[in-house]
């Protein structure tokens, strides 16, 4: 007699503590082993791209904030660069420097969330709060700059909404000084913890060829050992003036491109961001930040594609102008959306608990996946 067996379908999400938002993963399980993963997205779809067509160029800025809400400064920066290219205007030096400082602070804040929630996914809850404690200080810096803590509407096409707060430079330097030892503490507590390594090393290995075929970018691609960073390889703003390393996965604890590598790339990127911020603060020129902001944005007919290195990967804006005050079409290449499609490839053959570990290392933000 044979017993009839069948695979179990488990719906992970949309309400689940570790799908990082309203993602639904349809897992097909053989016992605890995964045979198939189908991500279902769209629970947070807000028609960003269509919305833009009814807005003027300036009005789009607050909407870009709401895509990758953990890296709003980066979204604004990408959009601002795209519109400036369309208008063919030059922004003052000071603006560029402040933008870089903001984008890098935002990268640290975003990676802190990624790392903290990753720890919480693996079961270590304390690093999560340590990360949020440090992120809070960055949010405070943003708050004194522009009044907002999450969705800033700070980087505008042609300039910035406000100049820096008089205390900003001092407070940022203090933050860097405080944050370096905290990073060491975080590494001791989580990164080099034996159990954490056991859970993440050799889990969800992403070979570099697969990563390129899938169009993976950002820390995920670098975790697979590819030294590709738009800040260096396709410099925008003033990134070419700074000296920084591009950390890549080395397979220190397992195989190159495993979850631990992806995680550790983020940790080391934070150190590099600190370096960039320090250099930018040293070189920060004086000047006016609002002088180049156009009163009315009416670009000539044409199209533009710009890409920047957001914390999650390559964020691209494709804007078509029909010569009016609002864009004819805005298309966003969202890194999380592209990175998420690898889930099935990475999860097959692993266990349910590994799905959480892999999803955490992909580091998605649903606001950006669904837009």
């Amino acid at each position: 007699m044979s017993i009839r067996t069948e695979e179990m379908v488990l719906n992970m999400g949309p309400q689940h503590p570790s799908t990082h938002g309203v993602l639904r993963l349809e897992l097909t399980l053989e016992g605890e082993i995964i045979t198939k993963v189908v991500p279902h997205i769209g629970y947070l779809h807000r028609c960003f791209e269509k919305h833009c067509e009814a807005m003027t160029y300036q009005q789009v800025v607050p909407y870009t904030d709401r895509m990758d809400y953990l890296a709003a400064m980066g979204n604004e920066l990408g959009y601002a660069i795209a519109v400036e290219k369309l208008l063919n205007i030059q922004v003052p030096e000071r603006v560029e420097y402040i933008r870089v400082i903001m984008a890098e602070l935002q990268r640290i804040a975003s990676h802190l969330v990624a790392i903290g929630t990753y720890g919480a996914d693996i079961g270590a809850f304390t690093p999560f709060l340590y990360c949020f404690r440090d992120r809070e200080k960055i949010l405070h810096l943003f708050e004194i700059t522009c009044g907002a803590r999450l969705l800033y509407n700070y980087i505008w096409p042609g300039g910035l909404s406000h100049d820096l707060h008089p205390d900003f430079v001092r407070l940022t330097r203090e933050f860097i000084k405080e944050f370096r030892p905290n990073l060491v503490e975080l590494n001791n507590l989580l990164t080099f913890n034996r159990i954490f390594i056991d859970r993440t090393a050799n889990v969800g290995i992403l070979p570099v060829e697969t990563a390129i075929n899938f169009g993976i970018t950002g820390p995920m691609l670098r975790g697979s050992g590819m030294k590709w960073d738009l800040r260096r390889d396709d410099p925008y703003s003033v990134y070419h003036k700074f000296d920084f390393d591009i950390p890549v996965g080395e397979g220190k604890m397992g195989t190159v491109g495993d979850s631990w590598d992806r995680y550790y790339v983020r940790v080391r990127e934070m150190e590099e961001s600190l370096k960039i911020i320090e250099q930018a603060l040293d070189q920060l020129p004086e000047g006016d930040v609002t002088s180049a902001i156009p009163k009315r944005i009416k670009p000539p007919v044409g199209q533009v594609y710009t890409r920047i290195e957001n914390p999650r990967g390559e964020l691209g804006y494709f804007i078509i102008s029909d010569g009016s005050t609002s864009p004819f079409r805005v298309k966003v290449r969202a890194p999380s959306f592209v990175n998420l499609q690898i889930m099935d490839e990475l999860c097959r053959g692993h266990m349910v608990a590994d799905v959480v570990a892999i999803l955490g290392s992909v580091d998605i933000v649903l606001g950006e996946v669904d837009r």
Binding site: S18, G123, A124, T126, L129, R199
Partner: protein, 357 residues
């Protein structure tokens, strides 16, 4: 002693036994659970650079009371697809399992719920009920997460019972008794007589035994952590994977029963570790009551010492919980079958040889 007191009072063996055995529930487990839940939150808070509950009462001391009241008022949700009978029995069974263990735990030389000769094995057997309860909860919830949690839990508890029993056997072989009362009594006052320091007899064997005892302590402590589903072995209720495992579907007082059982269990296993290795209720430095000549003070001191030891190990459990990540289910099995069980076996052999010589 307390049993005799009640026996004289009511003149009926069964009723007296009943009262004596239910004393720890009323006088100890409930207040302990209240304090332990608060302690956990405070410990977590301070470890995580925050304050923990601060609003209800002075520094939040009434927080758990408020929580219990909240849970009492909550709707007791039973979904249509649940197996109602099993769903209702499960929390009771889990709680019974962990509560029954308290009957054989010697709190002082004057009080033990039931002085059973097979005390330590009784505890291990009766906590086995918890597995049945958890499986029942997982099955009756008719929820895939609950089922996965329950299956994991059953596998985990069963495989970690083996190293626990092996270490207990080591101790039994060495002390020659399975009665926890006698076991505690043997490790008379002063800490160098504790089993972890090779027991009360002063002989060369005592010093040979110390490493084995320390290993045994670590093995049993790790496996009891797994048995009470605490981090790094909290896989059955792994929040980030299985929402909250077998008690996902429970609400209100039924959830509180699981919660209470968890904390009662935490103390029970800590108390067993304390009784086996750390002198049970004995004070490490002799008794104030002895030197003052006040006899009734001794049990009070013993109770204090025993609770202190138990709470200390509970604190270590909390400490671990807020420090370590969680193992994966296969790594958990590996840890038990490939490391703990062989170590416990070899340890058993070594202790056997030493005791024979």
């Amino acid at each position: 002693m307390i049993y005799e007191f009640f026996y004289n009072l009511v003149g009926n063996e069964i009723i007296a036994g009943f009262i004596a055995a239910s004393l720890p529930l009323l006088l100890f487990i409930l207040p302990f659970a209240l304090i332990a839940v608060l302690l956990e939150r405070k410990v977590a808070g301070h470890m995580q650079d925050r304050l923990g509950p601060m609003r209800v009462g002075y520094h939040g001391i009434l927080q758990t009371v408020a929580d219990i009241i909240k849970l009492l008022q909550k709707e007791d949700i039973i979904a249509r697809e649940n197996d109602k009978m099993l769903f209702n029995i499960a929390p009771v069974l889990v709680f019974t399992g962990s509560y029954a263990a308290f009957a054989a735990i010697p709190f002082t030389s004057a009080y033990i719920g039931a002085n059973i000769d097979l005390g330590i094995f009784y505890i291990i057997a009766v906590t086995g009920l918890v597995v049945a309860g958890i499986l029942m909860a997982g099955w009756a919830s008719n929820n895939k997460y609950s089922l996965l949690g329950a299956m994991r839990s059953a596998a985990q508890i069963v495989s970690y019972e083996i190293p626990t029993i092996l270490v207990v056997l080591t101790l039994v072989m060495f002390t020659g008794t399975t009665n926890l009362m006698t076991l505690s009594e043997n490790q008379t006052a002063y800490f160098w007589n504790w089993n972890i320091f090779g027991g009360p007899e002063l002989s060369p064997a005592k010093f040979l035994l110390i490493p084995s005892m320390v290993i045994g302590f670590f093995v049993i402590y790790i496996s009891t952590l797994a048995e009470v589903n605490r981090t790094p072995f909290d896989i059955p209720e792994a929040e980030s994977e299985l929402v909250s495992g077998y008690h996902t579907e429970y609400s209100g007082m039924k959830f509180a029963m699981f919660f209470l059982a968890e904390y009662a269990n935490m103390f029970a296993v800590s108390a067993i570790v304390a009784a086996l290795f750390f002198g049970g209720y004995h004070s490490p430095f002799g008794y104030l009551g002895n030197s003052l000549g006040v006899e009734w003070l001794i049990p009070v001191e013993q109770f204090f010492c025993f609770t202190f030891k138990g709470v200390f190990f509970v604190f270590v459990q909390m400490w671990l919980r807020w420090t370590l990540p969680r193992l994966r289910v296969d790594q958990l099995m590996t840890a038990s079958w490939k490391y703990l069980i062989p170590i416990a076996f070899v340890n058993l052999l070594i202790v056997g040889i030493i005791t024979l010589i």
